[in-house]
Amino acid sequence: MTERQVMALESDAALWNSLRRHTQARIGLGRAGSALPTRHRLELQAAHAAARDAVHSPFDPDVVASALAGAATIRVRSAAPDRLTYLQRPDLGRRLHDVDRAHLPRDGWDVVFVVADGLSSRAVHEHAAAVVRATTQRLPSDWRVAPVVLAEQARVALGDDIAHALGAKMAVVLIGERPGMSAADSLGAYLTYDPRPGRTTDADRNCLSNIRPPLGLSHTAAATKLATLMRRARDLGRTGISLKDESTSALPQP
């Protein structure tokens, strides 16, 4: 190899390393014939496997309940009986199981936190309890906070049904987000004021996503943002696009 060839080789390697500072895209992977080198093929499979396991690992409400350290909890199921049905029938994941609806004590709650498995039980196990605790600490002491509802096979809109059954003014749904190849443990938070089952739409909600320390939003940062949004929602009597617009400067994207 000539000196010039060695320089080109080193220079290309340095270039890709430098470019990787600007993107997580899988660039400069090299080739095995036309295909990916073995190492990169296995790295892709490892990322996909983590995502698949996050989607299919069962939700364990005990993990969240014990991390909530004695706070009252209620366990509910959606109308989707299993994971296979859940993935194919979003309508069932938005509806409370008829038997479990009766377990929800109707009262004048200001807010209910719903911890929902969504598409990553891992995200919920790792982050949900900490966000509930930190957010609750940041709320005015006179707010009536309902027992934390731990919901299985749940979509975001199940929170509407739960809040409606409890008579809660506001629902905060903490839910496992759809795993990507770089993150399988990302938690989302959806805030809805005056939720009405079947009538509330996504435009009526405010969302924080990518709660996933240390790379994403931290538990305390998420809690601060959520508590700010919740106070504002109560003052304005609404959530959704209008609330988001007014608070853009106070709420940098994660």
Binding site: S18, H22, T23, L44, Q88, P90, R178, G180
Partner: protein, 464 residues
């Protein structure tokens, strides 16, 4: 409403209207079950196919699946139907059309002449009687050629969309993925970015970036930033370098409304894009994406099965002589297409129907992490669609799109497909690859890693 029926195994099955019949005849998929439209049993599904096979094609002109009065896509389909082109098959049933399409009489010129005579519902209907191999065999015979700065759809060619997405539209990040794709011979269909935001400023910056690279290296391809059509119209008025105008479209007026578009708006975009005349070898200036399930997702399917509604989107597309159309087939999730098998079937149907209706059909062969699919499904789909003669496929670095969070084909996958099937890039792009030393003696893409190839200057400026 007309009732259609068939007797199978001593039992008579009835289906309400053409829409009900088409839905029941559809191969199984989760989206039709979610909509409550799927056949009740496997036998009912086959009975529906028996009944559908007997339906005269002319019946589809008399019984629109969505009323003419309430839906402008139906009006477009009915008003633009070419009776003269339809004449050769006007006396056939759906079952007979399948046999004619598979016969030697249906060669490339005959199929091209027939396209304006077929409605989307006829194409969808016959696809439901066809196996996966039928869908490949017929689509392969159809030739649809379009051009802008490169020519798409010539026999023996496969083009690629280079998709250098970045979650925050970071120019260096985009350029890095762009460089990676070019060095792997990708980008002859389009260099197309899904922007993180629809803000005109952000879109303009990306357009300028892509235009600069295409101009600097004289690359015979076109760029596209896949923003909303109104943003493109606005940017064209301000003199931005817009090559292709993009829009997501669907098969009903209400579903298009959920995307914020009307036929009138698309007419306006079409005129604006063509008046810029930025193409060198052709003037096809629109780019559409579609996908089964989008109408149901918008609650705008009118009781029509998701594959038939998808085919209706192609009636919208063909009005505008697009350069490129692709179905984003596995993106929507398992509630519409549950697993690799359903995604493959949908990919073959969409490609077949698009081609039969005269579109330059490509695919985003892809899946999300909550669907039951993996990279082996990508390889299977890619191979079948390559054999079927897909105009182009979408490629991302390593098959992992870090902005849209799904897996698509990789640049490497396109190399594989070209190699095993002997497919070549678009001719203008192929000549350019030769000029810059990226073609090997066999017509494949040379591995230039570690050679300091001149294109790496794209990255060196930004990496600093």
């Amino acid at each position: 409403m007309t009732t259609y029926s068939a007797t199978l195994g001593g039992r008579t099955y009835s289906f309400a209207g053409l829409a009900g019949l088409l839905a029941a005849a559809s191969p199984e998929r989760s989206g039709d079950r979610l909509a409550g439209l799927a056949a009740d049993s496997a036998q009912a599904r086959v009975a529906a196919r028996w009944a559908l096979a007997e339906v005269p094609l002319a019946r589809f002109l008399a019984e629109p699946v969505i009323p003419y009065e309430t839906d402008d896509v139906t009006r477009l389909i009915v008003d633009s139907h070419d009776a003269a082109a339809f004449a050769p098959v006007s006396g056939l049933t759906v079952g007979e059309l399948r046999e004619w399409l598979l016969s030697d009489a249906a060669d490339a010129p005959a199929l091209a002449a027939l396209a304006p005579g077929l409605t989307p519902e006829m194409a969808a209907a016959v696809s439901k009687l066809m196996g996966n191999a039928d869908l490949v065999a017929v689509a392969r015979k159809v030739q649809v050629v379009t051009a802008f700065r490169s020519t798409i759809g010539l026999p023996g060619r496969l083009a690629t969309r280079l998709q250098p997405n970045h979650p925050t539209d970071d120019p260096a990040g985009v350029a890095a993925a762009l460089l990676d794709g070019l060095l792997l011979g990708s980008g002859d269909a389009v260099i197309g970015i899904n922007p993180a935001t629809d803000s005109p400023k952000a879109v303009r910056d990306l357009l300028d970036l892509l235009d600069g690279v295409i101009d600097r290296y004289s690359i015979p391809t076109q760029s596209c930033v896949l923003c909303h059509v109104t943003t493109s119209i606005d940017l064209m008025e301000r003199g931005a370098p817009v090559d292709l105008v993009f829009q997501s479209i669907a098969g009903t007026q209400a579903a298009n409304a959920s995307f914020g578009v009307t036929l009138g708006l698309l007419d306006e975009a079409y005129e604006a894009a063509r008046s810029l005349a930025r193409g060198t070898v052709g003037s096809n200036a629109l780019y559409f994406e579609t996908g089964q399930g989008s109408a149901l997702s918008a609650d705008a399917h009118h009781g029509v099965d998701q594959q038939t509604v998808e085919a209706r989107a192609y009636a919208v597309a063909r009005r505008y002589d697009p350069l490129l159309v692709n179905t984003v087939v596995g993106f929507i999730g398992p509630e519409y297409l549950y697993d690799g098998r359903q995604i493959l079937r949908a990919a073959l149907e969409d490609h077949f129907c698009g081609k039969l209706l005269g579109l330059p059909m490509g695919l985003d062969i892809c899946y999300t992490n909550h669907a039951d699919a993996d990279d082996d499904d990508i390889a299977t789909m890619l191979t079948m669609l390559g054999v079927a003669g897909a105009s182009f496929v979408i490629c991302t670095p390593g098959g992992d799109d870090i902005m849209l969070n799904y897996q698509s084909a990789s640049y490497h996958d396109a190399l594989y497909l070209r190699e095993v099937l002997g497919l070549r890039p678009a001719p203008e792009f192929e000549a350019w690859l030769g000029r810059i030393g990226l073609l090997d003696d066999g017509g494949g893409i040379r591995d230039v890693a570690g050679t300091g190839h001149p294109l790496t200057a794209i990255g060196r400026g930004l990496a600093a």
